[in-house]
C-alpha cells in the first residue's frame, strides 16, 4: 500500500466503528420509524398496507396525544430555565468557596443525585411523596398545614415530576458550570475589580461572555435531557398518571409502541418529535450561537 493512501485510510479506520454504530443504532432506527409511520403493519403480519398520513392524522386527533404534547411544553417551560439558571447560581456560590473543604462537600452532595438510578430515585420519592403517609405530608401535618396529594393530584403531578427530575439531573449542569467558571482567568476578574466593577457587572460583562460556549452547550443539551430524563421519573413515579396528567411525548410514544404495540402511531409520534426537536435546535443555533464567544 502506498504511504499516501495509508495516510488517508487511517483516519477512516479510527472513526469507522463510531460512524458505523451511529448509522446502525441512530439513523437506522430513524429511517425504520419513518417507514413504519406510513405503513399499516404490526411487524409480524405478511400483509403490509400503505397508510400514508393516516397515522399522523389519527395521532393528531387523539386527546391523549394532545395532552402529552401540552405536558411536554409545560415540562420544558418549567425545567429548562430551572436546569440552566439554578445550577449556575449554585455553581457561582461553590466557585466562591473554591479551595475550601466546604466547596468539595457541597459539590459532591449536590452532584450525588445525578448518579442515583432513576428507578431508585423514583421509588424513594414515591415513598417521600406518598399522600397517605409520606414524609412530606407528615412534615406538613406537624406544622398544621393541609396534606397534599402531590403526584397523585392531576393538578400537581407535573410539578412533582419536575421537582424529582430537577433534583435528579441538575448536578450535571452545575458541574459543567463549575468547570467553565474555573477557566475564567482570575487576572481579568482582579482587573475588573480594581476598575471598580460591581459583582453583577463583572458577571454579565465578563464572566458570562467568557463561559458562553458552555452556556450554549448546556442550553442545547438541557432541551434533550428534559425530553428524555423525565421518562424514567414518570415511569417509576406516576406511570404517566393520574389519568395521563403527567405523561410526556416520549413516554406516550413508548406506551403506544411497546405497551400497546401500535407501531404506526408510535412511529408517527417519533417523527413529529424529531421534527420539533430539529426545529428548536436550529432556532437555538440561529438565535443564540451568534452571541457565543469561542475565543
Amino acid at each position: 500500500m502506498q504511504p499516501g493512501m495509508m495516510k488517508r485510510l487511517v483516519p477512516w479506520l479510527f472513526v469507522g466503528p463510531a460512524v458505523l454504530s451511529v448509522i446502525i443504532f441512530l439513523y437506522g432506527p430513524m429511517i425504520a420509524s419513518l417507514v413504519l409511520s406510513v405503513l399499516d403493519w404490526n411487524l409480524l403480519s405478511p400483509e403490509i398496507g400503505f397508510a400514508g398520513a393516516d397515522h399522523y392524522e389519527a395521532v393528531l386527533a387523539r386527546r391523549d396525544f394532545r395532552q402529552a404534547a401540552w405536558n411536554t411544553v409545560l415540562y420544558c417551560v418549567i425545567l429548562i430555565p430551572a436546569q440552566i439558571i439554578l445550577p449556575l447560581i449554585f455553581a457561582l456560590m461553590i466557585h466562591g468557596l473554591r479551595g475550601s473543604r466546604m466547596a468539595v462537600i457541597y459539590r459532591s452532595a449536590l452532584f450525588l443525585p445525578t448518579i442515583v438510578a432513576y428507578s431508585v430515585a423514583g421509588v424513594a420519592w414515591s415513598w417521600l411523596l406518598n399522600p397517605v403517609n409520606g414524609l412530606f405530608n407528615e412534615v406538613l401535618s406537624a406544622f398544621g398545614w393541609p396534606r397534599s396529594r402531590w403526584h397523585t393530584d392531576p393538578d400537581l403531578a407535573i410539578l412533582a415530576v419536575s421537582m424529582v427530575t430537577f433534583w435528579k439531573s441538575f448536578g450535571l449542569n452545575m458541574l459543567l458550570w463549575l468547570a467553565a467558571l474555573a477557566t475564567v482567568p482570575q487576572s481579568l476578574i482582579e482587573a475588573a475589580r480594581l476598575d471598580g466593577a460591581g459583582r453583577l457587572r463583572m458577571f454579565f460583562d465578563l464572566t458570562l461572555p467568557l463561559i458562553s460556549p458552555t452556556a450554549f452547550f448546556i442550553a442545547v443539551t438541557t432541551l434533550f435531557s428534559v425530553l428524555d430524563d423525565i421518562v424514567g421519573v414518570v415511569d417509576v413515579l406516576t406511570g404517566g398518571g393520574p389519568a395521563g396528567s403527567s405523561t410526556n411525548l416520549l413516554y406516550y410514544l413508548w406506551q403506544q409502541g411497546l405497551g400497546y404495540f401500535q407501531f404506526g402511531q408510535a412511529s408517527a409520534v417519533a417523527m413529529m418529535m424529531i421534527a420539533a426537536v430539529l426545529l428548536v435546535t436550529w432556532a437555538q443555533f440561529a438565535l443564540v450561537e451568534r452571541k457565543v464567544h469561542y475565543e
Binding site: 409480524l44 406518598n130 397517605v132 403517609n133 396529594r149 397523585t152 389519568a243 395521563g244 405497551g259 400497546y260
Partner: protein, 426 residues
C-alpha cells in the same frame, strides 16, 4: 528488578494437570451424563419467557421438570413484566426466534392468539391437550379459550380480596368476627368507625383503599350485576348496573375514606400501618399477614342485594413455537406443570389452585380467595380489537377521573364508553 521479584513471590503456582486427573474427570463426566435429570446433547432445549426470575417458585417448577430427564430441557428466561415480555416475544417472533413458551397476561389473550400466534394446544396434539386440561377445573377452560382455540394453561390465577390491619381493627374496637360475605355497607361503615376511633394515632392515616385500577373497578361493576364488556363481547358501561357499581366504588373516595394512590404506594402505606383496609390481589396473602400490618383477610366486598360475580386475574402459559418437535416437547413441560407435583411446587407463590389436584392452601389467609374461586370467577377483561390493548389504559384513566371527581360517574362512564368504542372498533 522490582517487578520480577513481585511476580515471582506473589503469583500463585499454576495448577498441574496430570494425565490421570484428566482421564478421571472425563470418565466422571461421561458417567454423570447417564444419570437421570442431567441435560444431554440430544435433549430438546426450550426457552420459556417468564415474568419471574430464578428466585421465584416458577424456577423450581422448571428445575424439577429438568431433573426428570425426559429428553426436554427448559430454560426459564426472565423477561420483565407482561409488557416487556410481550414486546420481547414480538421482536423475537419478527426475527424468527420466538420463545417456545411464554407466561402471558390474561389481558393479552387476543393479542397472543391473533398477533403473536399462540398455538392451539389441541392442534399440536389433541389427545395430549385433552389429558393436560383434565388436570384443571372445567370452569377455567373458557378463560384460556380464545377464538375457539385452547391457547394455554390457566397458570397463575388470583382474585382481589380484602386485607385488614388486625391491630388497627382491634384498637378501633371493631369485632374480630368478619362476615363470610362482606358487603360495601359493612366495609364503609367499618371505615368510618376506624376514622373516628383512630384520629391522632401514631401510624393510622387512612381508612381504606380499594385499589385504583381497572381490575377492582371491574369487580364492583360485576358485583352490581353489570359488565365492562358483556359475554357477547359488547361494551356495557352505559348500564344502570355499571353505574351502580362505579358509584359504590367511588363513594369512599368521594367521602374522604379513601385516598386513591398507585398500587405500590397503597401496599407501602398498608404495610406501614397507615392504611387500615385494602382490597387487592390475593397473592398478597403470602406477605401482608406476615408483615407488620398482621393482616387478616375476608372476601372482596359485594353490593348489598346483588349476587356476587367476582373476576380473576393473572396469566396463562402458552406455546409459541411453530416447530412440530419443539411444540411436542413444550407439551411435555405443560404436562409436568399440570401434574400434582408441578402444582404443589407452584402453589408456594400464592396463586389460586386452578387444578383438580388436592393441594393444601399455603395459609389460612388464602381461604377467602379460595372461596371466591369455588363461587366461580370470571375472566379479567380481555380487550378485543387491533387496538384492544389500549382499552385497559383508557378505562384505567377514566376510573381515576371518576375517583378524583374530575367527572361524575355517569359522565365518566359515558365518555369512557365512547372512547373505548372507538378503540375497540378499530
Amino acid at each position: 528488578m522490582v517487578k520480577d521479584s513481585i511476580t515471582t513471590t506473589k503469583d500463585p503456582p499454576m495448577t498441574q494437570f496430570s494425565r490421570r486427573a484428566i482421564l478421571a474427570t472425563g470418565a466422571a463426566a461421561f458417567a454423570t451424563s447417564f444419570l437421570p435429570g442431567r441435560a444431554r446433547a440430544s435433549d430438546v432445549r426450550l426457552t420459556v419467557s417468564s415474568i419471574w426470575g430464578a428466585d421465584k417458585p416458577f424456577q423450581k417448577v422448571v428445575d424439577a421438570f429438568n431433573a426428570k430427564g425426559l429428553g426436554v430441557q427448559v430454560e426459564n428466561r426472565f423477561d420483565g413484566d407482561y409488557e416487556a415480555a410481550t414486546a420481547k416475544a414480538l421482536a423475537g417472533i419478527a426475527a424468527g426466534k420466538a420463545p417456545d413458551l411464554m407466561v402471558t397476561g390474561w389481558k393479552f389473550g387476543y393479542f397472543a392468539r391473533r398477533t403473536l400466534g399462540a398455538r392451539d394446544l389441541r392442534q399440536i396434539d389433541e389427545a395430549r391437550a385433552a389429558a393436560i386440561m383434565e388436570n384443571f377445573r372445567p370452569s377455567l377452560v373458557p378463560l384460556v379459550t380464545i377464538d375457539q382455540a385452547l391457547i394455554g394453561l390457566p397458570w397463575a390465577m388470583s382474585t382481589p380480596i380484602t386485607f385488614i390491619n388486625s391491630q388497627l381493627w382491634a384498637e378501633a374496637g371493631l369485632s374480630p368476627d368478619l362476615p363470610e360475605n362482606p358487603d360495601t355497607d359493612w366495609l364503609y361503615d367499618a371505615g368510618r368507625k376506624l376514622d373516628a376511633a383512630l384520629k391522632g394515632h401514631a401510624t393510622y392515616r387512612s381508612a381504606l383503599a380499594l385499589s385504583n385500577n381497572e381490575w377492582t373497578s371491574q369487580s364492583f361493576i360485576q358485583n352490581a350485576g353489570g359488565f365492562i364488556i358483556d359475554p357477547e363481547g359488547r361494551l356495557a358501561l352505559e348500564s344502570d348496573a355499571a353505574r351502580a357499581g362505579m358509584e359504590a366504588f367511588c363513594a369512599p373516595a368521594h367521602e374522604g375514606l379513601w385516598l386513591p394512590v398507585s398500587g405500590k404506594e397503597q401496599d407501602a402505606a398498608f404495610e406501614a400501618g397507615a392504611l387500615a383496609i385494602c382490597t387487592t390481589s390475593s397473592t398478597r396473602a403470602v406477605s401482608f399477614p406476615q408483615g407488620p400490618a398482621k393482616a387478616i383477610t375476608a372476601k372482596f366486598p359485594g353490593l348489598a342485594g346483588h349476587a356476587r360475580n367476582m373476576n380473576s386475574g393473572g396469566n396463562f402459559l402458552a406455546v409459541y413455537t411453530q416447530e412440530a418437535e419443539r411444540a411436542q416437547a413444550a407439551l411435555s413441560f405443560l404436562e409436568f406443570c399440570a401434574s400434582k407435583e408441578g402444582q404443589m411446587i407452584w402453589s408456594e407463590v400464592g396463586y389460586l389452585n386452578t387444578s383438580t389436584h388436592e393441594i393444601p392452601l399455603i395459609n389460612a389467609f388464602m381461604a377467602p380467595a379460595e372461596a371466591q374461586l369455588q363461587d366461580g370467577l370470571s375472566a379479567e377483561t380481555i380487550w378485543p380489537g387491533k387496538r384492544g390493548l389500549e382499552g385497559q389504559g383508557i378505562w384505567r384513566n377514566w376510573v381515576t377521573r371518576m375517583l378524583t371527581k374530575e367527572v361524575s360517574v355517569a359522565e365518566g362512564l359515558k365518555q369512557a364508553s365512547a372512547e373505548l368504542a372507538l378503540v375497540l372498533a378499530d
